[in-house]
């Protein structure tokens, strides 16, 4: 009979250890399926079960405590044709609990064998998540404080479509492993065994006793009907194949010449909902249409439609270096929320600097020039204040021009959005003298 067992590395476990039985059963299952070693990856966790991969002539990956399922996931996603079998102990299963839950819920076509011997055997018999509260362990009384975890119950609750439980001595172990591996989705087999070195003697655990204990539990036997669904990688590929590739960066050829050389810093201070970040972007795009270098940084809280919204823009005839805007040339003051957070910049403003302010927005005293716009009287909703302020800035002609701003709009918007933005600008430029309420 053929075998995938590694003749150079025969299994070595403590005398009487159940792991030995599982190694041989797994081999029989793989042989029964006609698997070649190159078709199989055995991914192991830490602990005595972590030795499994070396006993097989298959692909092998042995990793960190509780993380075996994560490597298995990466492998299977990358090589869907590979049969991926993950081996963990009850120790690793507890450490990697979140990975276990995620794998059950994800339903990627991998098989997990949990070699459940109710303790951390390799490290000296400490209690694990499956240790009985009445057991005696190397952890003192700690296992008495927490109930033991039913792996199968958790797996079913977490969405695993295949859940099975069997004794390491079970006659049908190879068949049950085979069925789990053949299942097209995530499959779990909870394999109970004894740990003669660290647990069984101290607790007088016998295989027969474990069998009786297992028999007393509600039966589990493979397919969990209510959890059956599409396999994850298959579904992932179907959905991702429908996506179009993301477009590259916007390519902007300079078509205008800049009104200035050197660097100009613009600080847009507003509130959520005023499209301040979009205005910052439009300003950048407009400047790029005149061959300027630009940078933009936005600052806003986690809340949507509440709180400040700030955009810091640097326009420069040479590549932008320092992106801080501590001494802005132009400040948009469109809402109290934004102004409050950057009050200190106003005292640095000089007479040649410009503040474009919405009427009613209070700003600290400063030496700069101010243009105040009565947006409310003009019936311009708050979400357009930042855009109209850009038009006001263009009208000043010192940083950007109307043509540059229109070019920026065309780079940023299309269809209805572009039409709407353009009609706002048309409206502004046709009645521009009525916008300004004061100019100080």
């Amino acid at each position: 009979m053929s075998s995938l067992l590694n003749r150079d590395r025969p299994p070595v476990f403590c005398p009487g250890c159940s792991h030995d039985l599982v190694v041989r059963a797994l081999d029989r299952a793989l042989v029964a399926m006609g698997k070649q070693g190159t078709e199989v990856a055995i991914v192991t966790d830490i602990g005595c079960s972590g030795l499994f991969d070396t006993f097989f002539n298959s692909h092998a990956m042995h990793g960190l405590h509780g993380r075996a399922l994560t490597y298995a996931t990466g492998l299977k996603m990358a090589r869907p044709e590979l049969t991926v079998i993950t081996i963990m102990g009850d120790g690793g299963m507890g450490i990697g609990g979140a990975h276990f839950l995620s794998s059950c819920r994800r339903n990627l076509d991998i098989t997990l064998l949990v070699l459940n011997n109710f303790n951390y055997g390799m490290t000296g018999g400490q209690c694990s998540v499956t240790t009985s509260p009445v057991a005696s362990t190397a952890s003192g009384f700690l296992n008495e404080l927490e109930p033991s975890l039913d792996i199968c119950k958790v797996a079913s609750a977490a969405g695993s479509p295949w859940v099975d439980r069997v004794m390491a001595t079970g006659k049908k172990l190879p068949e049950q492993i085979r069925d789990a591996v053949q299942y097209q989705g995530f499959s779990l087999v909870d394999i109970w065994g004894v740990c003669p070195g660290r647990y069984s003697k101290r607790n007088r655990v016998t295989l027969k006793g474990l069998e009786e204990e297992m028999a007393a539990l509600p039966p589990v036997s493979g397919a969990v009907q209510e959890n059956e669904r599409d396999e994850y990688a298959d579904l992932y590929r179907r959905k991702s194949s429908r996506l179009s590739l993301p477009s590259g960066p916007v390519d902007i050829e300079p078509i205008y010449s800049s009104a200035f050389t050197g660097q100009k810093d613009i600080l847009l201070l507003g509130a959520a909902g005023q499209r301040v970040n979009t205005a910052g972007e439009l300003l950048c795009l407009a400047a790029m249409s005149a061959g300027l270098h630009v940078s933009q940084k936005n600052d806003y809280p986690i809340t949507v439609l509440r709180g400040h919204s700030i955009s810091e823009v640097v326009l420069s005839s040479s590549p932008v270096l320092y992106t801080g805007t501590g001494h802005p040339d132009v400040v948009f003051a469109l809402a109290r929320e934004g102004v409050t957070r950057r009050r200190s910049v106003f005292e640095k403003l000089k007479p040649e600097n410009l503040v474009i302010r919405g009427k009613g927005v209070e700003v600290p005293e400063h030496e700069g020039k101010t243009i105040t716009i009565d947006f409310k009287k003009l019936r311009i909703p708050s979400m357009h204040w930042a855009l109209i302020s850009l038009a006001v800035l263009a009208e000043e002609k010192s940083l950007i021009t109307e043509k540059m701003l229109r070019a920026g709009l065309a780079f940023r918007f299309s269809g209805n959005s572009l039409e709407e933005a353009e009609s706002l600008l048309n409206h502004f430029f046709s009645r521009k003298n009525s916008y300004r309420t004061s100019h100080s």
Binding site: D53, T54, T70, E281
Partner: protein
Amino acid sequence: MGFCLGASMAGLKAMTATSGPGISLYSEQISFAIGGEIPLVIVDVQRLGPSTGSATKGADGDIQFLRWSNSGGLPVIVLAPVDVTDCYTLTVRAFNLSERFRCPVFLASNKETAMTRESVDLVSLQIPSVVNRNHCPPDREFLPFGPGGEKDVPYFLPLGGDRLVRQTSSTHDEYGYITGDTETIARGIRRMENKLLGAINSLSLFEYDRDDSADTLLIVYGVTARAARVAVQRIRDAGGAVSLLILKTLFPVPEKTIQRCIADAERVMVIEMNLGQYVREIERLAGSKPVEFHGRMDGKLISPAAMCEVMGL
């Protein structure tokens, strides 16, 4: 990280990005990537720490963490982008280095770089050509952890291919079997150390803007370099003199490069967005030359004006 390690072992190129709280969680898997010689790119968009720190304000507080976050303390490659252009080119370089040396490569970015949008001249962008990992020739025995095509770097074969591959996070021999043999262990550790330290000259990236008449050398990296360029220009415009060294490879420390630049100066100034991390490397290389430090770690960029002030130039 686990997904990336699995996918990379299957032969794909893999990258993951995080910030300080995430890189802390990556630590055990970083060690696996180093010990298992698994190619991988890890982007750390550093934000102000400690712990969950400030969401989201910039800092360069993870520099020594990136170097020492692996158990065992083996060398790692850390590259630091200055701007968006660097983000393009250094990411390609990071992949190339990870493939060539079979190791994780870090990009020490910063919120101020990753969350800043800027114009890039795509035409003049010099993107390095792509390097792929060295596969074991079909007529050679495959030793997943033995010497390969390039000195001290093992050949690679994908896990799941037509030749068997063994990968392990535990101390192993050249075949990938766990071993306790101290000679074998020492040989493997030394090889992994040598493969990076021995190639230091070919992976050290930097910009040195020397002023022959300058006594002061300013050393910076990352986003701080942008303000440093402005500060240096201001000092020179005002008739002063200063040299500037911008490091883009932070680890392995480009010792010869740094020492050569320090030799040109009488006084060294290191400015970082932290409490003083990389300055330790400079101090140990500076010998008797005085090394001064200025740091800021409150989520704000260090301004050119502050730099001029602390340098007194």
